[in-house]
């Protein structure tokens, strides 16, 4: 069985962001959404010395640099909204899965924006994954500790 390269990167994303989902809730138990966002940004900057790509950064086109920067802004706005959702009573086990539905935007936009299409098997996988996220965001009627 040939596992695609991207799959291994995806596993790293799953584990790290899975823990992030929990830390978001824990941080907003102690801080406002706005301060949680600021310290989250500081956390990003702790990694910056290891990420600095060197002088090659000046060789990238303004367009690509703009996409990367715009990505940061959009992600920050999303993170702000997510932290605000958790601060305003959203449970980690509901809000985290619900906000993970953002690929729906990508699945519908990618054929137009990126001119990409997916295979029949991948479509089945996408449907299963989205169904999983929807089911994971269903609320428990009893929130008492187990």
């Amino acid at each position: 069985m040939h596992v695609p390269v991207w799959f291994w990167f995806a596993l790293v994303v799953l584990i790290s962001w899975g823990v992030v989902g929990l830390l978001q809730k824990l941080s907003t138990n102690h801080l406002s959404a706005e301060w949680a966002l600021l310290w989250l940004a500081v956390g990003f900057f702790i990694l910056e010395p290891w990420l600095y790509p060197g002088r090659v950064i000046f060789a990238y086109s303004f367009r690509s640099l703009g996409w990367a920067f715009l990505g940061g802004i959009l992600n920050a706005l999303g993170a702000w909204a997510l932290l605000a959702a958790m601060k305003r009573g959203g449970k980690a086990s509901i809000v985290a899965p619900f906000t993970a539905l953002y690929p729906v935007v990508v699945v519908f936009s990618a054929p137009i924006v990126l001119h990409e299409s997916i295979t029949a098997r991948q479509t089945v996988g996408v449907v299963c994954a989205l169904a999983a996220v929807v089911l994971l965001s269903t609320e428990s009627s009893d929130t008492s500790p187990h």
Binding site: L40, F44, A81, A129, L136
Partner: protein
């Protein structure tokens, strides 16, 4: 259940998050066509500065001293950064953007399990079925 959710503020904040992150995933793919994964994460972090300061300025919030909250948020940033780096690397590997985005968005599986174990939030049987679907999706993507 749905009308109740529609009345809740957290629901609408979550919808905003979905739209912003959908846009983020698309522009990230466009950026990774040229920029390395490390370079993307490096530049991406700068996008947080204006938003964080606007958020604080709008709220006129005073400094909050909770060391626990700060530690959780810093850990949040570091782990989110590592995940972002891996996502950009996945985009650069040439895989399909929709498939990679969907697969990596299955991270709530880990969150829900941790919320169950650490926060003691209860799992519904629907959530357990959801975990099954998530595993099935990952197996299909891995084939």
């Amino acid at each position: 259940m749905i009308p109740e959710a529609l009345k809740a503020k957290w629901f609408w904040y979550s919808v905003c998050c979905v739209l912003c992150w959908g846009g983020w995933a698309l522009v990230s793919k466009l950026g990774t066509n040229e920029i390395s994964a490390a370079g993307m994460q490096f530049i991406f972090a700068f996008g947080f500065i204006p938003v964080a300061f606007v958020a604080l300025a709008l709220k006129r919030l005073e400094f909050e001293r909770s060391l626990k909250g700060i530690a959780y948020s810093l850990g949040n940033g570091i782990l989110a950064g590592i995940g972002g780096l891996a996502l950009f690397a996945a985009y650069r590997s040439g895989g399909n953007t929709s498939v990679i985005t969907v697969a990596t968005a299955l991270y709530p599986v880990i969150t829900v399990m941790l919320a169950f174990l650490i926060l003691r939030e209860r799992l519904t049987w629907l959530q357990i079925v959801g975990l099954g679907f998530a595993v099935l999706a990952m197996v299909i993507f891995a084939l």
